[in-house]
Amino acid sequence: MPFIPHTEQDVQEMLDTIGVSSIEDLFDEIPPQLRAGELTQVPEALSEMDMMRRMRERAAQDEGALCFIGAGAYEHHIPAAVWDVTTRGEFMTAYTPYQAEASQGTLQLVYEYQSMMASLMAMDVSNASLYDGASGLAEAALMAVRANRKSKSRKILVPGSVHPSYRSALNVIVEAQNIEIVEVEWNPSTGTTLIDNLASFEGEDFTAIVIAQPNFFGQLEDVDALTDWAHAQKMLVVGLVNPMAMAVLEAPGNWGEKGADIVVGDGQPLGVPMASGGPYYGFMCCTSAIVRQMPGRIIGRTVDLDGKPGYALTLQAREQHIRRSKATSNICTNQGLAVTASTIYMSLLGPDGLATTSGHCYQNTQKLIALLTSIDGVDKAFSGHNFHECAIKVPAKASLVLEKLAEREVLGGFDLGVNYSDLEDVILVCVTETKTDTDLDVYKLALADVLNEINS
């Protein structure tokens, strides 16, 4: 009986104690007509050995290609130590630290995480995590509506250059609460949100604006100008950032005169494997002024009976288990283990290691851009600066090019035509520090080859 330790004698003794004659008797309060039959769709058990064999075969099917896709999930080198320590039973198989005295490990770690993340974002405080970047953005929108007492509109400005999946998840999650998302157009030549695009919104009541840095196209926005403009309009500013980029780029807390009010994003680049999309985690930071509107768990430092420092869940009155229908969010289980990994990752790299890694992503991307645009008909889709993704225009349908690259075991990027009908010939290409010069050459040669094939 996999995982069930009972011997026949145990079962008998237990039944005797309970005073019934069979396990079946324990279900006697359940109406008999509700009892389930065979589970026909659940196959016979496999031993761990057979299971691993199957899983190795399945995993091998998906392996081996060189990956240049980013679009919200990024391949970085994860130091071996990160998950060795993260998967220690004491971290991995504990739950939410309700019993603080028996959970100081997790609690102190999350306090350290909050400190690191707040500092990386140049914000006052951080929570202990939300599900992912996209749902985190939705929580930020809900939070902004609660926090901006000056605004009555429940309307939020979101540039079209924000990740399309983030925007759709945002919509799904906030629309039931009558919050309206208003799209801001991006400039087709720079791929960014220009102040000029915003002029038309001036004077109207908006609760908040979302500013992504870098944006979905990998382009760098003029965050200072946008932040100051929004604050002048009495909106809250929600920064949406890639935390890896923040080791090099100016942090949201320092944007413009006053900095962003809320910052969210996906923590995956910080030591969390791509793993088909999750578990990642949404991080969220904000200014002290609005911390009581923040969703999710928060750890605070306090003292014990002897005055010794210790850590505990705090501001629980915001949460569903205390406040129920009046909670700031329904979130309960969060993404703790991914946060554990990120905390260890940031400790291992430190500020300089993170900046170097981040810088090499940038540098490798510039190298690849130079290589690819040396091919006839291939060009950057936008002017301006970018971080480690770049929209590359190709002289063919992006979907076709990508398909043919995949046949050559190069996953060439994300087809922007899927979400932007004007960009059907544009590929969003990502390069991180994991790519060598040889890898970049492989991509270039494959692309040249593919374009040749298509055009011949």
């Binding site: 995982f3 104690t17 309970i18 324990l26 279900f27 309060e29 009892r35 389930a36 589970l39 769709q41 196959p43 058990a45 399945r58 995993a59 998906d62 290609a65 080198h77 060795d84 039973g89 739950y95 603080a100 005295e101 028996a102 100081q104 997790t106 400190s115 690191m116 405080v125 759709s168 998840a169 999650i173 760098l220 080791a247 100016e250 791509m274 999309g277 999750g278 911390v291 430092r301 306090t302 014990d304 210790g310 505990a312 705090t314 909670a327 329904n330 979130i331 309960c332 289980t333 993404q335 283990l337 260890i344 940031m346 400790s347 291992l348 790299l349 300089d352 170097t356 398909e403 995949a406």
Partner: protein, 485 residues
């Protein structure tokens, strides 16, 4: 000591990043960060030593019995981890083309099929990232259903007073008003009152069964009729599915939609707070609204190909709830768990979980503890109330919980459900041995004696942990949420 207190400016002791700085000359100054972030500067050894030692300050399933009610802290098979971290699984990009995703998609599809079977439902979407997001998806589908029928007046979701906090919070997030349904002294929903609360304003009801009172809602079919008769739908909160896995299917009880907590029922690790995974399952009525993405299968069983179903396939979907496929890695672990259990093993889960809980309940009762529902069968969990102890000796449920830590036993869930005073909600799970439970019971008996002879001592517990009892009031009043250096 905090990791920051071990940091020294200028320390660079790692082999983790390229040693030469990158060329950033192409980036204008204005974009570039001016001040270093305050991350610690420690050596690899310091980081490992620090976090290894921190981990040692945690209780966990791997180190202690952890009967946290409503959380199903069962053994997390290491084989599931081993499979999920195979390079092909770990390094797959979420947007990799389907040609490079067949292995992963096959696992997800198999899991969908198994979950349909155990829930008795018609469709499954794996995307919700925890129970609460599953609830959101489910209630949003209820909303979409009424909307699609232009049934506009349905503004209320019913929730029993014993329900988990996520239920009312979710209903509100989905734009509904919450109406509480009282629970009777036998732990079942008060059906007579329920009848008076329903009407054309009723969008649906959210129920767990077994309920958070640790008893099976016996009149569930009647409740289903009442709700359905007024045009509402039934949402099943699957947090307690472990009690009935392989024994009863929620779909057969009349539920229209539900979520599962794979991190409970399907043994994926709780990670110190998460990640979890909360797939939703629906019957025919709600099939069109399932959240995306879902894995579809084409071709024959011998030579299947798998692909993503998106809003093109499911035009009325409520949409996506995350950037990609939810907590994909957790889904892989759950799939592996189901594979290791197999059909027989799946049937056994509910049986042994129930056996363990009933055994503990009966033994504790024999030792003088008061069951909240003494006339009921326990399900996979049960409640004791310590009101008498509190009244007679001033030792409350929290004191006993803290004292348990000194006995190297993780405390059960305390003060939930709110309607039972001074309660402990105890869930042993099927993977614990009789010996482990007997030890816990012995600790409880011993604490009972201590409370009688030295209540003061018990109120001061714990004494053996890295810290003594913490000042929660100070934590909330004098907020210290980030280290300031």
């Amino acid at each position: 000591m905090l990791i920051f207190e071990q940091s020294r400016s200028g320390r660079k002791a790692f082999a983790q990043s390229p040693s030469v700085a990158a060329d950033l000359s192409g980036l204008p100054e204005s974009f570039i960060r001016k001040e270093k972030p305050g991350l610690p500067e420690v050596s690899e050894l310091q980081a490992i030593r620090h976090y290894t030692n921190l981990s040692r300050k945690n209780f966990s399933i791997d180190t202690q019995f952890y009967p946290l009610g409503s959380c199903t802290m069962k053994y997390n098979p290491r084989g599931a981890l081993a499979a999920a971290i195979l390079p092909g699984m770990l390094n797959r990009h979420p947007l990799a083309p389907e040609s490079h995703s067949q292995g992963f998609l096959a696992c997800l599809h198999d899991l969908q099929e198994m979950l349909k079977d155990v829930t008795g439902m018609k469709g499954v979407s794996l995307t919700p990232m925890a129970g609460a997001q599953g609830e959101f998806a489910g209630v949003a589908m209820i909303r979409a259903y009424h909307d699609a029928r232009d049934d506009d007046g349905r503004t209320e979701i019913l929730v029993p007073s014993a329900a988990h906090g996520t239920n009312p919070a979710t209903a509100v997030m989905c734009g509904f008003k919450v109406r509480e349904v009282p629970v009777g002294s036998d732990g079942d929903v008060d059906v007579e009152t329920l009848k008076t609360l329903v009407g054309p304003q009723t969008a649906g009801i959210m129920l767990t069964n077994p309920s958070t009172c640790g008893v099976f809602e016996r009149r569930i079919e009647e409740i289903a009729s009442i709700i359905h008769d007024v045009g509402g739908l039934l949402y099943y909160d699957g947090a307690n599915l472990n009690a009935i896995l392989g024994k009863v299917k929620p779909g057969d009880m009349g539920f229209d939609v539900m979520h599962m907590n794979l991190h409970k029922t399907f043994a994926t690790p709780h990670g110190g707070g998460g990640p979890g995974s909360g797939p939703v399952a629906v019957n025919e009525r709600l099939l069109p609204y399932l959240p995306t993405p879902i894995v579809g299968k084409d071709g024959s069983d011998d030579a299947p190909t798998y692909r993503w179903l998106t809003d093109k396939d499911i035009p009325e979907t409520i949409g996506n709830l995350s950037a990609f496929m939810g907590n994909a890695g957790i889904l892989v672990r759950a799939y592996v768990y189901a594979t290791l259990l197999g059909r027989e093993g799946m049937h056994r889960v509910g049986e042994y979980a129930t056996l363990n809980a009933n055994y503990m309940a009966k033994k504790l009762e024999k030792e003088g503890f008061q069951l909240a529902y003494p006339d009921r069968r326990a399900t996979h969990e049960f409640i004791i109330t310590l009101s008498k102890l509190t009244k007679e000796h001033g030792v409350n449920a929290m004191d006993v919980a803290k004292r348990l830590l000194d006995y190297n036993q993780h405390a059960p869930t305390t003060y939930f459900p709110l309607l039972v005073p001074e309660c402990h909600l105890i869930e042993p799970t099927e993977t614990e041995s009789k010996e482990a439970m007997d030890e816990y019971i012995a600790a409880m008996v011993s604490i009972l004696k201590e409370a009688e002879s030295d209540a003061e001592m018990v109120r001061g517990a714990p004494y053996t942990q890295p810290v003594k009892r913490l000042d929660d009031v100070k934590a909330a009043r004098e907020l210290d949420l980030a280290w300031k250096g």
